[in-house]
Every structure is written in structure tokens, then in C-alpha cells.
């Protein structure tokens, strides 16, 4: 599968694990759901290969902040593009908790939202496969002017005159 990473279309090297069974986690780089991480933290820490975590909109980012250095990827799921909770999660991870590795938007990720996602700190996108990924990529260029400070822009426009 292809994803957008740092403004380019690249092959995804990560496997997303489903369910809560740690023994089913295979080799290589895996992204595990928050519930599985909570249930099998020690097992997952001991395995070889990269580790990422997947948060649903209702999962509290505060529950993983002590473990942030364990994750090479944090994936935030958008079950529907209209559920905006993870825009806040992303800004908190970047701006408050200093997370500086891959922050990936997954789920119902579409062209017309990824500019805002980028502003909130996402740097990787696994778009909804209903749309050609080349089209989705174009969304990153929607605006050049930004009024607010966010993860991509430390100062509001009024401090940049």
C-alpha cells in the first residue's frame, strides 16, 4: 500500500495489527492498537522490529505520553473525516509533548482535510483508498497564508508581520 509521507508518495513498510492478541503480532514493523499496547506492553517492548501505536478518537493521548519514545509511528484513526478529535491529539503530541517522529493520519483521510492535518502536525497520510493518492496529495497546497499558530507554524500571523 502507498502512503503520503513528507509530501511524497511512498510504499508503506508498516503492518497494522488488528485485535488484542499479542501472540498474533508478527515480525517486522507493526502498528498496534492502543488496547493491545495496554494489554501486552511488556511483550511488545521485548520484540524485534519497529513499534507504532494506533489511537482511536476516544483514546486519551495522555495515556501514552510516558511511552512516547517507544513508538516510531503514532497513527491516529479518523473513522469518519467529520470526527475532528484527532486534530487536537496531533497538536498536543507535537506542541505539548514534543513527539517528533512519524505522525500518521489513517482511516477516512481525504484531500480536503489534509491541509489542516498537516497544520496540526501530521507528516504521513494513509488516504481512503476510494480516492487516487495523487489527488489527495494536492490538498497539501490549498493555502499559503495561515492565521493561527499550530504545529507547522510556531507564530500566529500577527507576530509575523
Amino acid at each position: 500500500m502507498q502512503i503520503i509521507k513528507s509530501n511524497e508518495i511512498v510504499e508503506d513498510t508498516w503492518t497494522t495489527v488488528e485485535g488484542e492478541d499479542a501472540s498474533a503480532v508478527g515480525e517486522g514493523d507493526v502498528i498496534v492498537p492502543f488496547a493491545l499496547w495496554q494489554a501486552a506492553r511488556e511483550t511488545l517492548k521485548g520484540r524485534n522490529g519497529g513499534l507504532g501505536i494506533l489511537l482511536e478518537p476516544g483514546d486519551a493521548v495522555e495515556d501514552i505520553i510516558d511511552d512516547l519514545d517507544r513508538f516510531q509511528v503514532i497513527a491516529l484513526n479518523f473513522p469518519s473525516f467529520t470526527d475532528g478529535r484527532h486534530y487536537s491529539t496531533a497538536r498536543l503530541l507535537r506542541e505539548r509533548y514534543g513527539y517528533d517522529r512519524e505522525l500518521r493520519a489513517v482511516g477516512d483521510v481525504l484531500r480536503d482535510q489534509i491541509f489542516y492535518m498537516h497544520r496540526c502536525g501530521f507528516d504521513a497520510y494513509a488516504p481512503n483508498p476510494r480516492h487516487p493518492i495523487e489527488d489527495v496529495l494536492k490538498g497539501l497546497k490549498d493555502f499559503t497564508v495561515k492565521y493561527q499558530p499550530a504545529a507547522d507554524e510556531p507564530e500566529p500571523l500577527f507576530r509575523r508581520f
Binding site: F81, G84, D112, R119, F143, K146, Q148, A150, P156, F158
Partner: protein, 552 residues
């Protein structure tokens, strides 16, 4: 008024391009209606019963004559020659073609206007006091802060997919005219004990099917924290507001379910993290924006104008208009005048293209080229010389814009209802028309004094019926349009939610029911000074209810 700089212009042009692309992709089938819907709503575009409706933002209700002429042009070129001013100071066009919308947005951008976020689950157009800057009881003009908040909320990356719509209002006056307590966040300019001016934040007010009066979150905060405190509230709401049920998704439900103490604790905790961030306002930015809202070049005029006094003595209709449709100005020799958009034969808030152009001309000739829109669905020319009121009144009379009924029973707030709206259960406009027809004797209206009638065609309460002294709510009962009456609401400083008095009435029985309510008031009022609402609060709802349902 505020003038765009190059970046304000740039972002608006980028918005037009973005929406043009979205419309093209929708028409090409690349975007599904489900995907397109939130995008068009965030550009003010609704799909109504007969056509698309476009809601254009009028930030804090302020328009230049040039902008008003553009609104007339849009009404003429793209619609059926009229527009409808709304309770949140915006204007709606009811007969719009989807393919025209990108061009309309480009036309709007050419006069520094837009339809950004006039719908959708985002921060909506920000409303304010129609007498900002000219009223004597004002601590400070709220519009610079509303403009700062407009820019902050425009295309906010974190808060564009909120659980539900989000409305802000600002007032700097002692008397609230913005329904500040019926907003998701209401912001008042207030003094602290040391006499410093800052903001009071209220949250959790709103209409809809669960009306609630906003609660005080912070009694005073420094001006520099306008945006940081707003962001703290927004973030708590975005993270914890309910998303499982559309009808429980407004911030008022979160405030209600958490309780104001716990809600405030969470806001303050979030605020502690961000209060010293770069979002903290600078004095330079406050000064920059304030410089756009300085007083116009007023003449040095006497407080009393003999010509005006004489004209009022000679002409009773003019005297009535001065008394009811004009307001004292803080500068001697000037008054603010209200252009009533409530007249027989016209839906409340509707204005034709020709009227808009004429109003723009009058604004240029009499009021420094500015027009304000009001929460009550009227227009205001805020800076008129007293000595020129008579000629202005004559011109407005010729335009059918001088009905001297402001603040009376027929100054009705009314939603478009089932004539236009796909959400509505019942028609609103014909009921408003019946009321305007029945109560067209001005002396009778003046005798009845201040009465606020507000009408909504469905439970979504766009006509603010909950906040009407008399509220009218259209419902659908097995295919029949019925109208429930509520009593005792208020959107002012004594904000309260009206209560339904009983079963609904068919359309033809609404006016008779109102007549009975008024009879009880006239019989029971404690002198002519006691308003309908005050009599109602004093004697309770029972005598009104018994009279209305006596024959049922």
C-alpha cells in the same frame, strides 16, 4: 472599518480557488455528496427545498456601502432580486445555482467579503452589537476584538470539524443586544475591581431543541488572553463534546453534563498550558486592529436641534419614527437610526436589490458610508445628524423602509420556515404576515409597548422562539402545520427560556391567541410602564393560559 491587508486578500483568494476545485470535483463525481456536504456548508451553502441557499458572512454586522452594493449585485445577477438578513447578522440568498457559487465567492472577495464558516460544525460568523462604537453605555468598542477573533477562527486547522456548530458573540455595552447568553461562547468587555478592562467569558448558551442560557466561566481576564482562553474552551469542547448524538453535541450539553465547575476546571487546566504561548495577543496587534475602528469625522453639533423639534411637533408620523426607530448617540447632535425590515407584505428581514442599493446610497449621504445589520433582522445607519433626520425619514418612507415599529410586537424575528427550508415543519412567513396585518395600527402597538415575538418553523429554533416574550414554534402534527406558543423568554440581560403553554394552534388561530394574551396583559399590567414580559413574570403564566384555552 477593517481593511484587508495583502495576506487577508491572499487567503480569501485561496479559499475561492479551493471551493472552485471542490465544486468541479463534485460535478465530476469525484466527490460524493457526503464528502462534499461539510465542505459546501463551510462555505455557507445549504441544499434547501427548491435550490441552494447561500449564507454570506457579515462579520460583527458591519458593511460598507460598497459591500452593500455587491450584495445587491449578487441578488440581481444570481438570485431572484432579494436577500434575507438573519438573526446572526448575515444575509442569505435562497435561489442559488451550485455552479455560480465560486463566481459569487470571487465577487464577494473583491469587496473583502466571504461566506466562510457561515454553516458547518466550525466556528461560525462572529456577531456583535449593532450600536458598537456609538452607544453611550459602552465600555469599549467590541469590534476590534471580534475582528481579531474572526481572523483566528478563519480556517482554524484544529477546530473545523467540531462536534457541532459553534457561535461567538461580543458585546462591550452594559445593555446586551447580541443575545450573548444564547451563544456557545459569549464574550463581554468588563472592568475588574481595579478598573481594568478585560473580558468575561460565558459558555454553553444556545437555542435548538434544548435551549440553555450561557454560564459564566471566567468573570475577568486580561485582553491579551482573548485567543488563548478561547482556544482552551475550544479544545476542551473538541476533545470531549459528544459526537454520538447530533442533538446532544453542542457545547451547552457538555457544560450541562460536566457541570459548570468541572467544565471550568478543565478549561482552566488547558488554559494554564497555553496562556503564555505565541497565541497570546500583543498590544501591537490590538492597536493595529483598533486603528480601523476609529470614530468618523463628526461635526461639532449642538445637542438639541430646533429644526428636529419643530419637525416632530409638525409631523406625528415622523415623531413616532424618531421615537421608535432612532437611538441616542454618544456624540451630541447625532442619532443612530434603525431601518425596519418588518413591513406588511414582506418576509421579516427581506430586502430587494433596489432597496439595498438605495440603502447604500443613503449610507454614503447620511452615515459615513457604513451600514450595520442587527440580531433583530433590521439594518442600522449609526451616525446620522439630527438635523437631517427628517429628509432621511422621507427617503426611507419612499423605500418602504420606515415602518415605525422597532421594538414593538410587529418587529418580529422569523426564520424562513417551510417556504424555503428543508428542515422546517411549518411555514413561518405567512404567520408573520398575519401578525403584521392584524397589528398595523401603530398607536395600538405603542400602547402595548415592548414585546418581542420570535418565530421558528421547527425545533431547530433559527427564529429564536425560546427567547421571545411570545415565542411561536411551528410543528408538524400528522401532516398538519400547528403552532405552539411559548411565553416568558428573553434574549436580553434578563435572559430566560420561554415555556410552552399548551397544545398547538392551526395557522388561523395564532393571531386570535396572541390577541387573548395581549388582552390579559392590558387588563393586568401595573400601569403603562410595565412591559408584557414583566407583567407575565409578576402574575405568572396561568391567567394567560386560561384565557387562551378557555374555549378549548
Amino acid at each position: 472599518m477593517y481593511q484587508y491587508n495583502s495576506q487577508d486578500r491572499q487567503i480569501q483568494q485561496e479559499r475561492v480557488q479551493q471551493f472552485r476545485s471542490q465544486v468541479q470535483r463534485r460535478l465530476a463525481g469525484e466527490l460524493s455528496e457526503e464528502e462534499f456536504r461539510p465542505l459546501r456548508l463551510m462555505n455557507g451553502l445549504y441544499l434547501q427545498l427548491h435550490a441552494y441557499m447561500l449564507r454570506v458572512a457579515v462579520p460583527y454586522g458591519l458593511l460598507s456601502s460598497r459591500q452593500m452594493r455587491m450584495l445587491a449585485h449578487i441578488a440581481r445577477k444570481y438570485d431572484k432580486g432579494y436577500g434575507h438578513f438573519t438573526t446572526r447578522q448575515n444575509i442569505q440568498y435562497n435561489w442559488i445555482k451550485l455552479t455560480d457559487v465560486p463566481d459569487i465567492l470571487a465577487d464577494l472577495a473583491s469587496v473583502e467579503m466571504h461566506a466562510n464558516q457561515t454553516s458547518g460544525n466550525c466556528i461560525r460568523n462572529i456577531s456583535s452589537d449593532e450600536y458598537a462604537g456609538v452607544i453611550a453605555d459602552e465600555l469599549e468598542d467590541p469590534r476590534p476584538y471580534a475582528e481579531i477573533a474572526r481572523q483566528y477562527s478563519t480556517f482554524h486547522p484544529e477546530f473545523s470539524y467540531l462536534p457541532r456548530k459553534f457561535k461567538l458573540a461580543f458585546t462591550g455595552a452594559e445593555t446586551d443586544r447580541t443575545a450573548v447568553l444564547f451563544h456557545d461562547i459569549g464574550i463581554r468587555l468588563v472592568k475588574n475591581e481595579a478598573g481594568e478592562v478585560g473580558f468575561a467569558f460565558y459558555a454553553g448558551g444556545g437555542m435548538g431543541r434544548t435551549p440553555m442560557v450561557g454560564k459564566l466561566v471566567r468573570a475577568w481576564i486580561e485582553k491579551e488572553h482573548l485567543l488563548t482562553y478561547t482556544e482552551a474552551i475550544m479544545r476542551v469542547y473538541n476533545r470531549y463534546g459528544r459526537r454520538d448524538n447530533k442533538f446532544k453535541a453542542r457545547i451547552k450539553i457538555l457544560v450541562h453534563e460536566l457541570g459548570i465547575e468541572e467544565f471550568t476546571r478543565e478549561v482552566e487546566e488547558e488554559f494554564a498550558h497555553i496562556k503564555d504561548s505565541s497565541l497570546k495577543l500583543t498590544q501591537a496587534e490590538i492597536d493595529r486592529v483598533k486603528a480601523y475602528f476609529t470614530a468618523p469625522d463628526y461635526k461639532d453639533l449642538p445637542a438639541d436641534d430646533e429644526g428636529l423639534t419643530q419637525a416632530m411637533a409638525d409631523n406625528r408620523a415622523f415623531a413616532n419614527w424618531v421615537k421608535h426607530n432612532t437611538v441616542a448617540h454618544k456624540v451630541p447632535g447625532y442619532r443612530a437610526i434603525v431601518v425596519s425590515l418588518k413591513t406588511r407584505g414582506v418576509a421579516p428581514g427581506d430586502v430587494t436589490d433596489d432597496q439595498m442599493e438605495a440603502i447604500a446610497d443613503l449610507a454614503d449621504e447620511y452615515s459615513f458610508g457604513e451600514i450595520r445589520t442587527t440580531h433583530q433582522q433590521n439594518l442600522v445607519l449609526a451616525d446620522v445628524e439630527q438635523g437631517r433626520l427628517f429628509e432621511l425619514w422621507e427617503r426611507l418612507t419612499g423605500l418602504h423602509l420606515a415602518t415605525a415599529n422597532v421594538g414593538t410586537l410587529t418587529d418580529i424575528i422569523c426564520c424562513p420556515g417551510l417556504d424555503y427550508c428543508s428542515l422546517a415543519n411549518a411555514r413561518s412567513i405567512p404567520i408573520a404576515e398575519r401578525i403584521l396585518e392584524r397589528f398595523d395600527d401603530l398607536d395600538h402597538l405603542y400602547d402595548l409597548g415592548e414585546i418581542r415575538i420570535k418565530m421558528s418553523g421547527c425545533i431547530n429554533a433559527c427564529g429564536h422562539h425560546h427567547a421571545g416574550h411570545i415565542g411561536i414554534l411551528g410543528v408538524d402534527k400528522k401532516g398538519e402545520e400547528l403552532y405552539q406558543i411559548t411565553l416568558g423568554g428573553s434574549a436580553a440581560d434578563d435572559a430566560s427560556v420561554g415555556k410552552i403553554i399548551g397544545p398547538g394552534f392551526p395557522a388561523e388561530e395564532v393571531v386570535p391567541a396572541i390577541e387573548k394574551l395581549l388582552d390579559v396583559y392590558v387588563e393586568q399590567r401595573d400601569g403603562e410602564g410595565e412591559r408584557f414580559l414583566d407583567t407575565l413574570r409578576r402574575i405568572g403564566v396561568t391567567p394567560f393560559k386560561e384565557r387562551v384555552y378557555a374555549d378549548h
